[in-house]
């Protein structure tokens, strides 16, 4: 190596151009979405700026199009490009937030249940079973109902995203918990864990520093897929009328609404958001694949 890179992390990262590309793509999309109000050509969430008379315009390179709307407009007359950026922001928040929530709960429960076993395990796993019976829709309904009575109306109006995060996050942790528990059951019988006991490491250190990295691989796989699942679930909830507000659609909700126009030839309202979601998910997964290899020194 001519250039001396100190850290293993950067060295390994730069060796995989496809990961670098994916990471850049993620950064780009995250930035574009985060700064949507500055980046997007229109403000699709402000009803005062949209006109129903501009609806269903095709992308700028097609006939009958309007140069103001690069990727066309949807049935409400919203600029598709801007809506994607604004919606992407919501979807990213929901996707990342929900997965973070379910990963944290799932990892904790799974590690504790797998490591301690016995009664702790039985109780935690039975709780998981109860939880698993409730699909996100029902949890969303419950939260919606509780928060509606608990919060003042104006606060509640802004609570859609947190509700989605909570509902989807809560519905998702069971998967993580079960998978982590399974791997923990195997890991805790290994000699290096006995070595931790011999050092006298307290349980939480043993679990966090030694077992956790060894069970992380399936978690990473699942988490990255769950980001997509969370975004899509949020869209599904929108489809059932519970997701983000109609006037502030998420990326998933855009796809959902657009999917009804597939037959009518208004393809741009579904294809562009769909491709964006796909790219986002693939990029996340590629980065996660790399991260998993990086975390296992034998795979480097």
């Amino acid at each position: 190596m001519l250039i001396r890179i100190k850290s293993d992390f950067w060295y390994e990262l730069l060796r995989s151009p496809i990961t670098v590309f994916s990471a850049l793509l993620i950064i780009l999309m995250v930035l574009a979405c985060t700064f949507a109000p500055w980046v997007a050509p229109h403000t699709p969430f402000d009803p005062a700026t949209i006109s129903i008379l501009d609806n269903n315009l095709p992308p700028a390179w097609q006939d009958r199009s309007d140069p103001r709307f690069l990727l066309g407009t949807d049935m409400q007359g919203r600029d598709v490009l801007s809506a994607m950026l604004y919606g992407g922001r919501i979807s990213l928040m929901v996707g990342l937030g929900a997965v973070a929530l379910s990963t944290v709960i799932g990892l904790t429960v799974g590690l504790v249940a797998g490591y301690f076993g016995g009664l702790t395990d039985a109780i935690l796993m039975r709780i998981a079973e109860v939880q698993f019976a409730f699909p996100p829709i029902l949890i969303a309904l419950l939260l919606n109902g509780i928060l509606k009575t608990a919060l003042p109306a104006d606060v509640f109006a802004t609570a859609a995203v947190p509700i989605m995060i909570l509902a989807i996050g809560l519905a998702g942790w069971v998967q993580f918990a079960r998978i982590v528990r399974a791997s923990t059951l195997v890991q805790r019988e290994q000699d290096y864990i006995t070595a931790c006991h011999a050092i006298g490491l307290p349980t939480h250190v043993t679990i966090l520093r030694h077992i956790l990295p060894n069970v992380l691989s399936p978690v990473l796989v699942l988490a990255m897929l769950q980001i997509a699942v969370a975004i899509v679930t949020e869209a599904t909830l929108s489809f059932l009328g519970l997701g983000t507000p109609l006037t502030e659609p998420s990326l998933g909700a855009l796809i959902q609404a657009g999917s009804q126009f597939l037959f009518s030839g208004i393809w741009w309202v579904v294809i562009f958001p769909g491709v964006m979601l796909l790219m986002m998910v693939i990029a996340f997964n590629l980065v996660a694949d790399w991260a998993r290899d990086y975390l296992n020194p034998r795979l480097r």
Binding site: G117, S217, A228, V229, S259, G274
Partner: protein
Amino acid sequence: MYYVIARVLQACLVMLCVALVGFIVFQYVGDPVLALVGQETSIEDRAALRESLGLNDPILVQYLRFVADALRGDLGISYSFNRDVADMIAERLPATVELVLLSGVLGLVLAIPAGIYTGIHRKGGWAQAIMALSVIGVSIPSFLLGILMILVFSVWLNWLPSFGRGDVAGVFGFRSSLFTLDGLSHALMPAAVLCLFQLGVILRLVRAEMLEVLRTDFIRFAWARGLPAQVVYLQHALKNTLVPVVTAIGLQLSSLFAFSIITERVFQWPGMGSLLLHAIGQSDIPLLAAYLIFVGLVFTVANLVVDALYVMIDPRIRHGKV
């Protein structure tokens, strides 16, 4: 034996909790009375109906009443269908079961070999292509994928029927649409959409675990022993990936069961999922309660099986502890 009894008791407890939480949730799914009566029904009539359905009682009372009835084998009558809930579930169950089985089997048959392949040829072109494709199943929402498939295979190509369940035939007393050609042709698209999702999860999980296992010393020794590749991969490596994979399969299968909602809706598959959607839309409490209990039961049983499999797969996992 003791273990099994304990687990059965625990399962009962789980069901009780599911129902309890359920009744708390039902407070917020809507007002069944409104869904039940015509628009011109007077307020008193509605109030009277609400009273007679016991909806004015505290949740706990409603819950206990439900449990007491359920213990007598009576799950109540669906508000919106006027029919015995147990009958309705029994009617819808076979459709969902066959869809889940078909997509489950389809998913496993595709995912496990593909996972092994991509694990072995980590950097290969095919492997990378498979990996990229596997994400598509997860990231294209199933309502979109379903409609796209219908558009292509039913509307454009006219190969497959776009909705519903086909003819059923009985084999050994099981009546299923999987036994007829027409039935299979109806089940193919929904099963494919449903399996694409779990395909991604299982494929990636098998691959990830495969990668880890293939670097272990005992695999190296297996090579040194001169075992042929298929034995090393299938008998030695695969088995060592199974604990998390079986867990995932258990989860996926039971969640297929529970949440085939969208697929069933898109393809008008007359199963439990569409029943749930209807029940939520109509705030049909007895139906919802029975549905939740059922899903809880499926998941509990799946977990029991998975836990039993752990001990069979990995002897190091201790019996009593599981």
